[in-house]
């Protein structure tokens, strides 16, 4: 996810500077307003694309955190005869990059206090913890719990059956980690795994459109008039992402 301000930096021009130059022409109006009058202000080829994630290394996760997330997402969506799972589709990189952006800090959410100790379930998110804090604290708590209950072995060292058992208990909130809700950690990783596996590959996950190929989602073709004309018939064309398809070459 990329903030509009970042996108504009990308093009070498900020919206604020656009505003200022437009407003200078009209002295009777507040300088902090963008004034639009007489013509629509768009210009050809001006758009706000997201910045493609470049895989390689981690910007937020430590090595042990990344390995743990790799192991968890590999159990949530395993690689099998149906195709790559979440780990092999780059979901850990997706989560890492999301955590370093506005999502990771809950930058767009209402985060003013007071934070209630006893919210109603119908009142939704009421924690002051950002996703970055949830991962940092939650993965440390998982490590603490896992080593204490599995003879000093961390999550990446226990076998897949033990991993599944522990994840199932976290999902139901049946295990208590030191200082962090196991269910909250599971919920965050689960939601981000689904996002990363099925989001456009431009964000670093869904590598080679593995998630889309699994279900047969053709991606961003943006024109399915041919499909509507042929009800109940299989769609045969391969998927396309915001960056095209591998066959189209590097973009």
């Amino acid at each position: 996810m990329s903030q509009r301000a970042d996108d504009l930096h990308h093009t070498g021009i900020t919206r604020r500077s656009l505003l200022a130059s437009a407003a200078l022409l009209i002295t009777t109006t507040g300088a902090g307003a963008r004034v639009v009058t007489k013509v629509l202000p768009w210009r050809p080829n001006e758009a706000y694309p997201v910045k493609p994630v470049v895989p390689g290394g981690y910007l937020f996760f430590t090595a042990i955190e990344a390995a743990t997330v790799d192991a968890i997402v590999d159990r949530l969506i395993p690689t099998d005869e149906l195709g790559p799972g979440a780990k092999d589709a780059g979901v850990t990189t997706f989560i890492d990059r999301q955590l370093t952006g506005p999502y990771g800090g809950h930058d767009w959410l209402y985060m003013q206090g007071p934070f209630s100790e006893k919210p109603l379930p119908t009142q939704g998110l009421q924690s002051p913890l950002t996703p970055r804090q949830q991962y940092r604290l939650g993965l440390a708590a998982l490590h603490g719990y896992c080593t204490a209950t599995h003879g000093g072995r961390g999550f990446i060292q226990i076998n897949p059956e033990e991993q599944d058992k522990l994840l199932a208990a976290m999902e139901k909130g049946e295990v208590s980690f030191p200082n962090f809700s196991s269910r909250t950690l599971f919920g965050a990783i689960y939601a981000n795994t689904m996002e990363g596996y099925f989001a456009d590959p431009i964000y670093g996950g869904n590598r080679d459109m593995a998630g889309w190929k699994l279900v047969g989602f053709p991606g961003v073709r943006y024109d399915f008039r041919d499909v509507i004309e042929k009800p109940n018939e299989a769609y045969m064309l391969p998927p396309v992402s915001l960056q095209g398809r591998p066959a189209w070459g590097e973009r």
Binding site: G30, V36, T122, G124, A199, V215, I228, E233
Partner: protein, 587 residues
């Protein structure tokens, strides 16, 4: 102290559907109009470019287009005995932000309310007796009839290019349309959309059950069309990115596609974006508005004097602005007095998820308004006497999208992750249809809006507080509708179904519908309504308030068609007001 700007004839607060329509109509009459919008300017070519628009994560999951709760949110609780907490992250509903407002990211379903909906209180009492009305209700007749609004519905539908099939033209029932609809003067401007395979199954099953299916009226248009303002739209490509997205094809009706290209050419119109109106300023006696106060992107405060103030923000924020400006008496549920914040209502959702075998529904080829609907169970189109509830629902087999972050269904009993989940996701993606009921919500004494005592926005102003829960009447209605949906799904040949009932209290977490109504309702009595029948404030006669905040209660339909009709109805009233300013209705 706000810096004072030169006077304008009209200041419009918010530049969505209602703000752009009133701006264009009044600028065309030669008035100087300035629209002040707190979000950014947005153009199709720039902001909904075909190379960037189809991005599920950015728009549907991270909410790129919506108002950011950091800038403004509301607090909520289910009843007055609880402490409201802020909606920190949008869920149940998603208010828009920026030019185009919610008219940019909607699905495009464009309905007319039924004639009975406008006099539901009188109608229900006449047919069933007063005992049918639920406890604690505030159900009110509208002070305007369907017949009065018909020409204005027509006007909005022709501006928006709506694709549909008439069911009743001047009293003549038309085959293939909705036989329950109120009489319309003429057919829709464009023919209905093409439908998917699941809609074929639904239409056949509904017909076999003796029901009356029809293609639902759509703001994703079926053919190229040029509207009366000269704005051109292109045929929908069934791309599957409508709701929560901007349309890159100029196919979805929106202020950007249908109004702004004409509006911006009006030399007496100016838009100021990224400026937040903080209040309407009033004369010393509080009886006239003198303009608005707003804060620009640099935090500088300005006063924009104007003769006429048109409040055109999203329904909830209209109500907040009236409360912050001291226009109209705030509603007090304890005394059951006051009007601003009264009769907040919403929408019910229920239905069934149906699992089929040996089908290819191709869910990715869809559109926001694609679907076959039926109105046999809406409003009072059926006998309510055995059921013990008021209201009804439109039932639809819709087909909006197959975007896989949010749409990867699995049959009941499937694990939530692991190899078995993965296989089920692969095997099920093509085989799921939803039959859903979008139902009315009546108004009640304890469902209301006021200002929160604790939580504030970044400018230090109190947030709006929403006190709302579904009542027994709505639960009964929605659950009866869920069973009707299930009957139809089984008749479609579903191998398994999963009924979605309305249980428990209203929650902000799952997305339900951005159909928030009421709070500044129109009525015939200033003691029980904030606005007269022309959407004019009873208290401050040069203030008009547009939008779904005017609905006395909500019907079993999406609100935008009625919002558009009321806007054109109010425009005519404002033209009359300008000839002779003052209250258009004597209290």
């Amino acid at each position: 102290m706000a810096r004072r700007l030169p006077r304008k004839d009209v200041v419009v607060i918010g530049l969505g559907w209602t703000g752009s329509i009133v701006s264009l109509e009044l600028a065309r009459s030669g008035l100087d109009v300035v629209a002040i919008e707190r979000g950014p300017w947005r153009d199709t070519a720039t902001d909904f470019n075909i190379g960037t628009a189809a991005d599920e994560l950015r728009y549907a999951v991270r909410h790129d287009l919506f108002l950011r709760p950091k800038q403004e949110t509301l607090t909520m609780r289910n009843n007055p005995s609880q402490t409201a907490l802020p909606i920190r992250k949008w869920g149940s509903f998603l208010p828009g932000n920026g030019v185009g407002g919610a008219g940019l990211h909607w699905n495009g379903q464009t309905w007319r309310f039924l004639p009975d909906d406008f006099r539901i209180r009188s109608h229900m009492i006449e047919r069933y007796g007063a005992t049918i009305l639920p406890e604690g209700n505030h159900i009110q007749d509208w002070p305007v009839s369907y017949a009065e609004l018909e020409p204005y519905y027509d006007k909005f539908e022709y501006v928006a290019g709506i694709s549909g099939r008439a069911g009743n033209i001047k009293g003549e029932i038309q085959s293939g349309g909705n036989p329950f609809e109120g009489a319309r003067a003429r057919d829709y401007p464009t023919p209905p959309m093409k439908q998917g395979f699941q809609q074929e199954l639904f239409a056949k099953a509904a017909n076999d059950l003796g029901l009356h299916p029809f293609p639902r009226p759509s703001g994703n248009i079926s053919v190229a069309y040029t509207n009366p303002y000269g704005c051109s739209m292109a045929p929908c490509t069934y791309c599957g990115f409508c709701e929560w997205f901007g349309c890159a094809n100029y196919s979805k009706a929106s202020p950007q596609a249908c109004v702004l290209p004409a509006l911006i050419r009006q030399p007496s119109f100016e838009a100021r974006t990224e400026c937040e109106v903080t209040r309407v300023s009033l004369s010393g006696d509080g009886k006239m508005a003198t303009g608005v106060i707003y804060v620009d992107a640099d935090g500088v405060e300005w006063e924009q004097p104007a003769d006429l103030v048109l409040v055109c923000a999203y329904s909830l924020f209209n109500v907040r602005l009236l409360l912050l400006s001291g226009i109209g008496k705030p509603y007090d549920p304890v005394k059951d007095e006051g009007v601003v914040g009264r009769n907040y209502a919403y929408q019910t959702g229920s239905g069934t998820t149906a699992f089929f075998e040996d089908v290819k529904f191709n869910p990715f080829a869809g559109a926001g308004s694609l679907g076959i609907a039926l109105d046999d169970y809406n409003s009072d189109n059926f006998d309510h006497s055995p059921h013990g509830f008021v209201g009804g629902a439109s039932i639809t087999c819709a087909h909006t999208n197959g975007r896989p972050i949010r749409f990867h269904p699995t049959p009941p009993g499937t694990p939530t992750w692991g190899g078995a989940w993965k296989k089920a996701v692969r095997d099920t993606y093509q085989k799921v249809a939803n039959v859903s009921a979008q139902g009315s919500v009546m108004s009640y004494r304890n469902n209301y809006l006021d200002l929160d005592p604790t939580y504030k926005d970044p400018l230090g102003r109190p947030l709006l507080r929403m006190t709302f829960d579904y009542q027994d009447n709505e639960r009964k209605m929605a659950n009866w509708m869920a069973d009707r949906c299930d009957e139809i799904a089984k008749a479609m040949g579903a191998k398994a179904t999963q009924i979605n009932r309305l249980t428990g209290s209203w929650s902000v977490v799952p997305y339900q519908s951005t159909h928030n109504t009421g709070g500044a309702i129109l009525g015939s009595d200033p003691k029980t309504s904030a606005l007269n029948r022309y959407l004019q404030s009873w208290d401050v006669s040069n203030v008009f308030v547009m939008g779904a905040s005017a609905f006395p209660q909500n019907a079993g339909y999406n609100p935008t068609g009625t919002v558009g009709a009321l806007t054109y109805w109010a425009v005519d009233a404002i033209q009359n007001y300008l000839k002779s300013p003052g209250p258009l209705v004597q209290p």
